[in-house]
């Protein structure tokens, strides 16, 4: 709320997702690939394998080009993006971690120089030993840069003791530091193997291909297998609230399943080409493998981002840039009063929707579009009334999806509802009990699932009794919005719930 919100038509989160995943996909290769280069060089020199060396030189050239032109630039891209999209969080992180970033920069300096020198001195007066030493320097610097940045990323998810003691050491070595480091390190090794399979697939030398398929393949499949328990350990290392999100939120579950599936598939596909059928290794196969690698990286980042919900820095800053300590004030005094970046300072009947648009931008647009695109809100509001939607908006933190609390007043929530309903599709909706349940109760409840199940509550109750409860639902529990549906909807819903109650054990 302190900063203006950059309005991006298709949703600013996509920019960070695309740049972030591309960067991580290359940067983790830059780390694992460094170890691969130097160890493989040692192996090729020891066995005096000219074909392997020749390929390794080309692989180094590719490595240098990719990591410098795409790795370094997308790294800068992440800086730009987080400053644009989460200035509040970036500013906090920079104030806390500027020296960690400065130290990472020092490693970056060594990394860039080392890879240029390593690449330029393959054939030269430089001794083999010295060339390999440069390779080791490169890898050490690259890995240490991962060690540094991992502390900051893990901090966002699990700030741990820092919340109480505000010490840099507590912030850096936080509860999920080691599990994240292990996961990232293993992904680095997987990617090192996968990229090697890709560049060697361009070679016409069948023997070399088989040799690299076996050798580099072993890197990829063994690390991929280890990645599965490491991923599990990562989830288990999280505080229970974060761990629960994997179970409760469909998108987090999907991301976790994608991680499991992609990792297992990488292991299997690489094992096949590495041990059973090396001749399968052509360009299409290698590119499929690389794509699966991208899925592993993407899903890991996706899980890490989603289990942090509803925070950017857990227990400190919400994902919509509202500081936890400011929430009570904002809910009392309102966003329009607190924000520097709104045109409407008060809500009147004539400006309600316009104010709602500005409020939506502040409170919701970090994750949602209003009208169209993924996570768009208005299309889901078909058939609902302003009172109910306003009630939901005011209670976002109670809904399924791990949303932060609405950082404004009830009147402001109502304005957001008015704005969204203006954009919602018109037309009739089904009025049967199941549909009414899905529209009016589904956002916060399941019948028999894991998220606030209510099916058994209605066991043995008659539809008329249930209808009476529905009517007075806000008095029964003020966390729920008042009933604002029609009589017919109420009846249908009551009947539906009575039937569900009958089924409940």
């Amino acid at each position: 709320m302190n900063y203006p919100v950059w309005e991006v038509v298709f949703g600013s989160r996509w920019i960070i997702a695309v740049i972030g995943v591309i960067h991580v996909f290359i940067a983790q290769f830059a780390v694992g690939g460094g170890l691969f280069l130097v160890l493989t060089e040692g192996r090729a020199r020891k066995s005096e394998d000219p074909a392997l060396l020749e390929w390794l030189k080309k692989h180094t050239r590719f490595f240098t080009f990719l990591t410098l032109v795409f790795g370094a630039t997308t790294g800068v891209g992440i800086w730009f993006t987080i400053g644009l999209i989460s200035p509040e969080a970036t500013s906090h992180l920079i104030h806390l971690f500027v020296w960690v970033w400065a130290i990472e920069w020092v490693f970056f300096l060594v990394e860039i120089l080392a890879i240029i020198v390593y690449n330029r001195t393959w054939v030269s007066r430089v001794s083999r030993r010295q060339h390999m030493l440069i390779g080791w320097i490169y890898f050490a610097a690259a890995y240490l840069s991962l060690v540094a940045i991992n502390g900051i990323l893990a901090f966002q998810l699990t700030p741990g003791r820092w919340l109480a003691d505000h010490s840099l050491l507590s912030a850096f070595f936080n509860p999920s530091y080691w599990s994240q480091l292990i996961v990232r390190s293993l992904i680095c090794v997987v990617l090192a193997g996968l990229y090697a399979l890709v560049t060697v697939s361009w070679s016409k030398d069948r023997i070399l291909k088989a040799e690299v398929a076996k050798y580099a393949g072993t890197w990829a499949w063994s690390a991929a297998i280890l990645l599965l328990p490491a991923g599990y350990w990562f989830v288990r290392s999280l505080p229970k609230a974060n761990e629960d999100l994997v179970r409760l939120i469909a998108s987090v579950r999907e991301a976790s399943l994608l991680f499991l599936g992609a990792t297992a598939l990488v292991a299997v596909l690489v094992l096949v080409v590495s041990t059973v059928w090396p001749r399968l290794l052509g360009k299409p196969y290698a590119l499929v493998l690389l794509f699966m690698g991208l899925c592993v990286v993407g899903s890991t980042e996706w899980v890490r981002e989603s289990v942090r919900k509803p925070y950017t820095i857990t227990d400190y800053l919400y994902i919509n840039h509202v500081a936890v300590r400011d929430l009570a004030r904002d809910r009392k005094e309102g966003m329009l009063a607190a924000s520097l970046w709104v045109g409407e300072k008060t809500i009147t009947p004539s400006n309600e929707a316009a104010a709602g648009k500005e409020l939506f931008r502040i409170a919701c647009s970090a994750c949602h579009n209003a009208v169209s695109g993924s996570n768009a809100v208005a299309p889901r509001l078909k058939g609902l009334d302003a009172a109910f939607v306003g009630g939901l908006v005011y209670r976002t933190d109670l809904m399924r999806g791990g949303m932060p609390p609405f950082p404004g007043t009830q009147q402001e929530a109502q304005a957001v509802a008015r704005y969204l309903l203006e954009k919602a599709p018109r037309g009739g909706v089904p009025r049967d009990g199941a549909s009414v349940w899905a529209r009016r109760c589904g956002p916060c409840h399941t019948l028999a699932g894991s998220f606030r199940p209510v099916g058994s509550f209605f066991k043995g109750q008659r539809p008329d009794d249930i209808a009476a409860v529905i009517e007075a639902i806000n008095s029964v529990n003020d966390k729920m919005p008042p009933w604002s549906g029609s009589q017919a909807e109420e009846k249908a819903l009551a009947k539906f719930l009575a039937a569900q109650g009958g089924r409940a054990k």
């Binding site: 302190n2 203006p4 919100v5 950059w6 309005e7 090729a44 020199r45 000219p50 020749e54 030189k57 080309k58 180094t60 050239r61 080009f65 410098l68 032109v69 370094a72 630039t73 997308t74 790294g75 800068v76 891209g77 730009f80 400053g83 644009l84 200035p87 970036t90 500013s91 906090h92 920079i94 104030h95 020296w99 400065a102 130290i103 920069w105 020092v106 970056f108 300096l109 060594v110 860039i112 120089l113 240029i116 020198v117 330029r120 001195t121 393959w122 054939v123 030269s124 007066r125 430089v126 083999r128 010295q130 060339h131 440069i134 840099l168 500081a323 520097l340 970046w341 709104v342 045109g343």
Partner: protein, 417 residues
């Protein structure tokens, strides 16, 4: 009244302000030198490639082959000041960047395109033929775009009063700062500076080649020095234009109002004139090297002074909104110490690696292959077949043994001994 800028963070700045400012100045200075070489390098390469004589093409090639490396270091040394400016001026920097969000984020694909193009040009220079000058111009345009967006962000950042109206008019982030009269002279000043820096670089390298290729070397050093002198003279006029376009408060800060600003202006002007005089003296000298290095040193002093002035102008413009000197600090001395130790170690390692690079000049052709090449043995038959030319762009010319003195541009200097 509501403060027109976002409040300072609850977490204090983890170092003394003077320390962060020193790092900001030094890292930005290095960034500017590399960045000037890329911008000026593409411009001069285009001009030389258009002229098309052998001497022009040789000079253009000399520039083009270093650009991928220079870009890597320009990015590296761009990240550091970006970090420090965020610590020091976060509320203003982020807001200004958001107002220009779309052109700002487009810098990334533009940079990737230009960087890839520079790699391709360095590698396939000979094969590109008539495309060469046009590709350099495309690069110049792309890089110019990046510079132009930065100038817009850093000037808009100085006018917080305009933030809110600009934002509400268009929250999509297309708010270039074109109404500000200082944007154009500021951009041109930087652009001409880039030509000057590249001219001087070319002159120094030409002078070093005189012993081996008298004609080419002499022409190149004269041409480079002329570009340097011409660009610097015009730049003094543009600098004056910028100065008079500055709001009164900011101008006053440079003319007695602020001690650092005034010293920087005076010293910068003197050093600029000294570098010009030295370069002109060098043009007619038989041994121009000393003059040119003198000019280069004076130019670095000028650049540093400009950077200090830029900072003084920033603080003068922001005085009523944001006093960086009063920001709460809580230095993390342990982390600062670790950073300094690691930085020193990195310098030491860099010197070691540059020495390795110097020792291991890439083999260019079989005829000049010296004894003692200790390749793995793969290329015993002929290094010409090794494919090593394809590894990365490299300069041509015979390989010479012997020491060399300079830093990063050594990457390509093996033929300059």
């Amino acid at each position: 009244m509501i403060t027109p800028i976002p409040p300072v963070d609850a977490i204090p700045v983890p170092a003394p302000i003077w320390f962060l400012k020193t790092l900001l100045y030094v890292t930005f200075l290095i960034h500017v030198i590399f960045m000037n070489l890329i911008l000026g390098g593409n411009l001069l390469a285009a001009v030389f490639a258009f002229k098309g004589k052998a001497k022009h093409l040789a000079a253009a090639r000399r520039l083009v082959v270093i650009l991928p490396y220079v870009t890597a270091f320009a990015i590296l040394f761009g990240v550091a000041p970006l970090l420090f400016v965020q610590v020091l001026y976060g509320p203003l920097f982020y807001t200004s960047a958001i107002l220009l969000g779309t052109p700002f984020i487009l810098i990334i694909p533009v940079l990737i395109t230009a960087y890839s193009l520079m790699y391709a040009m360095a590698r396939w220079w000979e094969r590109l033929g008539d495309l060469r000058p046009w590709l350099s111009l495309v690069n110049l345009f792309l890089l110019g775009y990046i510079g132009f967006v930065w100038v817009n962000i850093f000037t808009l950042m100085l006018e917080p009063d305009r933030f809110k109206d600009k934002y509400l008019a268009h929250p999509g982030g297309w708010q270039l700062n074109l109404v500000d009269p200082t944007v154009l002279p500021r951009f041109l000043h930087m652009f001409l500076g880039a030509i000057a820096v590249t001219g001087l670089y070319l002159a120094i390298r030409g002078a070093r080649r005189i012993r081996f290729e008298p004609e080419q070397g002499r022409w190149q050093f004269r041409s480079g020095a002329t570009w340097f002198a011409g660009a610097t003279i015009v730049n003094m006029v543009v600098g004056l234009w910028w100065l008079v376009d500055l709001p009164k408060d900011e101008m006053t800060a440079l003319m007695g109002g602020n001690m650092f600003g005034s010293i920087a202006l005076g010293l910068g002007l003197l050093a600029g004139l000294a570098s010009l005089a030295l370069a002109l003296l060098g043009i007619n000298s038989l041994k121009p090297g000393r003059y040119l290095w003198g000019a280069a040193c004076a130019l670095v002093v000028t650049l540093l002074c400009m950077i200090v002035m830029r900072d003084v102008i920033r603080d003068a413009a922001l005085r009523t909104y944001y006093d960086v000197a009063r920001t709460a600090t809580h230095p993390q001395w342990g982390a600062i110490g670790l950073f300094l130790v690691l930085f020193a170690a990195a310098i030491w390692l860099s010197v070691f690696m540059l020495n390795v690079l110097k020792k291991g000049a890439p083999v260019d052709n079989g005829a000049t292959r010296g004894p003692g090449l200790t390749d793995s043995g793969v290329h015993k038959a002929s290094p010409a077949e090794s494919g090593i030319r394809k590894l990365l762009p490299s300069d041509s010319g015979p390989i010479k043994a012997g020491p060399s003195t300079s830093g990063v541009h050594r990457l390509d200097d093996q033929d300059d001994q």
